[in-house]
Amino acid sequence: MSMALPKTRFKGKTITLSHGAGGKVMHDLIAEIFVAGFDSPELTLLEDQARFDLNELTKLGNRLAMTTDSYVVDPLFFPGGDIGKLAVTGTVNDLAVGGAIPLYLTCSMIIEEGFAIDDLQCIVASMKATADVAGVRIVTGDTKVVPRGAADKLFINTAGVGVIAGNSNIQANRATAGDVVIINGYIGDHGAAIVDARGELALEISVETDCQPLNDLIQKMLAVCPDIHCMRDATRGGLATVLNEFAASSGVAIQLEQTKIPVREEVRGVCEVLGLDPLYLANEGKLVAIVAAEDADALIELMQNHPAGKYSCVIGTIEADPQAKVILETGFGGNRIIDMLVGEQLPRIC
């Protein structure tokens, strides 16, 4: 790993079952790796729960938001990120797309016996760095060690709490005819980076994951346009899945223009070789928003001036019919319906 490891008094090179047994060895692991690594005042108290001052929370907004997600990515380290960065970003973004200001995260780790301490430290450092960027704190956690083979190296679960301010009302059922669809940049980077990192194909590409917290961008978007109708981050299942969710919940048609959807050349290349469709590839730093057409110009201008939205653009419009359908104008003169995937995308034979 290229990241410089923080100095630690922790002894040993690999995780053993005793690191999860509740005794002194486990306490050392928690103190030296997690408490020192995450470095938050709540965690340092070592209570069984984190406590928050309600008065402080109500100063920020009028609703609490809560979410949870588990991270099981393989490999753990990939171009532009790692499971730790993903575990913070994913949960932060799930809060942020609802209009919430993310504040606190939990972190549960399920570690396979034999896992390298250096790797664990790297991942914890990456979580801390990402949490700092997103302005959130990791305030409580849990560690379990399972026998070899009972888990694949490391699984992380993070839950997050945030506060929603003002009267924003972002919901999947609020898309109406005349609205436009906005995305904050290139799609499919994360999915392509993971395929590349698995190394099964010896592809000569240099796509990095797009993994990035979106909360700062989204708060600025809400300042310009408080009435964002729908917003989600397009993670597993990609852009196509999120748009199908919006179309079904709102009972509208979403008309996309293929030529406007930003896809990197390298990602298109990976998809061509493997018979995949970038519309279904995973992203970890992409939001899809549906807003009134008159709000679009101001939003796009703001987003393009933000580091998380440099390539933001309008990719489609909302129409009344056919209900619950996503239609792509292929850029070749035809149309095709973009449905939900039945299972996972499987590469075609020939």
């Binding site: 099964e200 194909l201 050349e265 298109r268 290349g269 061509e272 493997l274 056919p322 359908k325 292929t330 850029g331 070749f332 003169g333 035809g334 149309n335 095709r336 319906i337 449905d339 039945v342 299972g343 499987l346 590469p347 075609r348 034979i349 020939c350």
Partner: protein, 374 residues
């Protein structure tokens, strides 16, 4: 993207579409039914749907989506054989990805994997051979599937294994042949086809001549076709020109890849390793004479059918399936009694609903399930 975007150019598409409409208009007075052009290959079906090509065509031209999707035409009994091989604890079973979801009579390979069988998705038989090198205590079986397109890579892998003296690699050979299958479609009494787009990648291996019989004996227009959307439009225009001029010859639109005599080293490897089976069972089409290959006796040591007891049971297609009629263009997918209801991509009953290249799955996924069922 170089060598790809050139073949997806919208302006050229508009020119070709206009030319196609013009010929179709000229032909209209002579027609008693819409012209039916079959694209044999599942790869073509995929492109046609992906680019919305059907909507660009005039009403009197109908695309018939042929049986050339090797995953779709895999009979249930063969999937059962795969599952049985894969469930052997000493076996690592390797397969192309899209064969994973094809239903057997009891389960698919995807379900067998979930139940504990060691099944791995590979992109090439050479990857399977690599697994055999790394796992000398396991037998690595590669599920050889596909037409002449994928046959050479299976043959070369067997030859490579022989050269290296690898004894724990074998092929479960389910390769199928194009020509007898097209012949079976043409010989069918309810066939109404007017022309063909011939499979470009098969032709890349076998060359142009094996398709001559379609023009000479059956007097159908046929164009060997590439896989980009402009390839399809240009080939359709070429087929229509033949029909207008009352010609039937084999023309090659895919000259950038297909040589008139095909690929000699590939053909040599095929004939070294494989021989024609008397018949092969197809999902949706029944048994077709000479439509599959098996491994020659000299390669019995690499033949999973010889090394293992394969059940080889014949499982009949569900009675309600009308895949055969759809494949021949006799009915449209949505005319089938169970299309979209009992048979859908999540729970496919018929062959054509199995892979995204299958005609019914393509129609279903593109939202045609509400169309024209009235």
């Amino acid at each position: 993207m170089k060598f790809v975007d050139e073949f997806r150019d919208t302006e050229k598409a508009t020119i070709l579409t206009k030319a196609i409409h013009k010929i179709a208009k000229n032909l209209e007075p002579k027609l008693t039914k819409p012209l039916q052009i079959m694209e044999f290959c599942g790869g073509h079906t995929h492109t046609i749907f992906r680019y919305g090509i059907e909507q660009m065509l005039p009403d009197n031209i109908e695309m018939v989506h042929g049986p050339g999707c090797p995953v779709c035409v895999l009979p249930m009994g063969r999937v059962d054989d795969c599952v049985s091989l894969a469930e052997n604890p000493d076996v690592i079973f390797t397969t192309f990805g899209d064969a994973m979801r094809v239903p057997g009579s009891k389960k698919s390979l995807l379900q067998a994997k979930a139940d504990g069988a060691d099944i791995r998705m590979t992109y090439s038989p050479m990857d399977a051979l690599n697994l055999a090198r790394k796992n000398p205590n396991k037998e690595v079986i590669f599920f050889g599937l596909g037409f002449e397109t994928t046959m050479p890579s299976s043959a070369f892998t067997v030859l490579q294994a022989e050269r290296e003296g690898i004894t724990n690699f074998s092929l479960f050979c389910n390769h199928i042949t194009t020509v007898p299958t097209i012949k079976a479609v043409l010989d069918s009494p309810d066939m109404q086809l007017d022309g063909f787009l011939a499979p470009g990648h098969v032709a890349m291996v076998i060359g142009e001549r094996p398709f001559d019989f379609i023009a000479l004996d059956y007097h159908k227009s046929i164009v060997i076709t590439g896989f980009e959307p402009l390839d399809i439009l240009q080939s359709l225009w070429m087929v229509l020109q033949q029909i207008e001029q009352d010609r039937s010859v084999v023309e090659n639109q895919y000259k950038r890849i297909v040589q008139p005599n095909g690929n000699t080293p590939a053909l040599e490897a095929i004939s070294q390793v494989f021989e024609i089976r008397e018949f092969f069972e197809w999902r949706g089409l029944g048994s077709i004479d000479h439509s599959g290959v098996r491994m020659k006796e000299a390669y019995a040591n690499f033949d999973a059918e010889k090394k293992f007891a394969v059940p080889n049971l014949k499982i009949a297609d569900p009675k309600s399936c009308q895949c055969g009629e759809v494949v021949k263009g006799v009915i449209k997918p949505w005319d089938c009694k169970i299309f979209g209801s009992k048979c859908n991509p999540e729970f496919p009953m018929g062959a054509l609903m199995v892979s995204s290249e299958g005609a019914c799955a393509a129609y279903f996924n593109n939202g045609y399930h509400e169309k024209k069922r009235a």
